[in-house]
């Protein structure tokens, strides 16, 4: 067996070992995630918590701030996503109403002008 063949065999098994180690034995650990990485059900529940708190404190700015943790999209989008998730999963009517109230109030805020547009 030639040197090149041995080198290729070594690379092949080395790659296998590397992938095994990197994907199975010691994969990248995401232990410090942000709320935007939450699974759909947890994200929806996060939005529901924001909506529940909002129903009492009526602090829309605080609600928007909390929803901003879910990503860079407008907070209304996350609320609508949560409502969609709730409808798909047949959640109870009270929770849907709570989410809907937050969505209605968020919708009442005029959209912020995009930077750079004249």
């Amino acid at each position: 067996m030639g040197t090149t063949s041995r080198l290729l065999i070594g690379i092949f098994f080395g790659l296998l070992l590397g992938l095994l180690f990197g994907w199975v034995i010691r994969p990248v650990e995401y232990i410090d995630t942000a709320p935007e990485a939450l699974r759909d059900d947890f994200r929806s529940d996060y939005v529901l918590m924001v909506a529940e708190a909002y129903l009492v404190d009526r602090d829309l700015e605080l609600a928007r701030y909390r929803l901003a943790s879910l990503g860079s999209h407008p907070p209304l989008n996350y609320t609508i996503e949560a409502i969609d998730y709730g409808v798909e999963n047949d959640i109870n009517h009270i929770d849907l109403q709570t989410l809907n109230q937050l969505a209605v109030d968020l919708r009442s805020i005029p959209p912020e002008p995009e930077i750079g547009l004249q």
């Binding site: 090149t4 070992l17 994969p27 990248v28 995401y30 929806s44």
Partner: protein, 266 residues
């Protein structure tokens, strides 16, 4: 040649491992897009706990709050909530936030947290196991039953003031116990302590193991304090660490326990 061949295999292995690790760690790492609250970064986890507390304060749904707390998977939850409440006060955030955290801490003492059916393992790929059924469940939600909280219409008044001479107590404390008209502890009641050089605020319920209506404040010897409940009647003044004697042992500084009770509804 044989030696050169073995060297080639070794070099190949090293190159291969390096390439494999680079691919699996940098180019195409395990994606973690479906995380659960327990994997949140510490600051986000604190925000998450505060949000749970705010939602609980709004709805009074203790079962839902417990389920949400269980997903965060924090070992010493009560003290964590207490620390968050203290931080909230120190950061001059709204009192409602600290009060909500105190009320949430108080429900921990009522019964154990539910176990999570299938905790999400760290580092799992996008195919994470089925979620523990979130609070966001298709069940009919009965009217929430809030834990006892103070009402502005029924103030608390001091019912007893006791000196505590307990050498086992590590600190000299002002302890308060706030009870409703029925004699149950009330969490989330704000107390203000004032002394010459400053003041501090603390809330009942941050140590649920001592009861939902309990709170304490550490005194300094030689300092005179005043105490007032935000929803209380009257101001207690001249509170100092009294000297206690226990048999033949050296005198030590004692503590005070103030018990407040809500008057019957008007």
């Amino acid at each position: 040649m044989n030696r050169l061949g073995n060297l080639a295999i070794l070099v190949g292995l090293i190159l291969g491992v390096a390439g494999g690790l680079y691919y699996s760690w940098a180019i195409n790492p395990v994606e973690y897009i479906d995380s659960s609250p327990d994997s949140l970064r510490e600051d986000f986890k604190s925000d998450y706990l505060t949000l749970i507390a705010s939602a609980y304060a709004a709805t009074g749904d203790a079962d839902r709050a417990r389920a949400r707390l269980a997903w965060v998977q924090i070992a010493d939850l009560a003290s964590t909530l207490g620390r968050l409440a203290q931080n909230s006060l120190a950061d001059k955030r709204p009192d409602a936030e600290a009060r909500a955290l105190a009320q949430l801490a108080a429900i921990l003492g009522e019964r154990p947290l539910p176990l999570i059916a299938s905790p999400t393992p760290r580092g799992a790929a996008t195919t994470t196991p089925a979620p523990p059924s979130p609070t966001f469940t298709p069940t009919s939600s009965p009217s929430p039953t809030p834990s006892p909280t103070a009402t502005a219409s029924a103030p608390f008044s001091l019912s007893t003031k006791e000196a505590i001479c307990d050498p086992a107590l590590q600190e000299t404390q002002i302890q308060i116990l706030v009870l409703d008209a029925a004699g149950f502890g009330v969490p989330g009641v704000k107390a203000l302590v004032v002394w010459d050089a400053g003041q501090d605020i603390f809330f009942t319920g941050l140590k649920p193991e001592l009861g939902p209506g309990f709170a304490d404040f550490t005194m300094q010897e030689g300092v005179t304090y005043s105490l007032q409940l935000s929803q209380g009647v009257g101001l207690e003044t001249g509170i100092t660490a009294e000297s206690c004697a226990d048999g033949d042992s050296e005198p030590f500084a004692g503590s005070w326990l103030f018990t407040y009770q809500q008057s019957a509804s008007p």
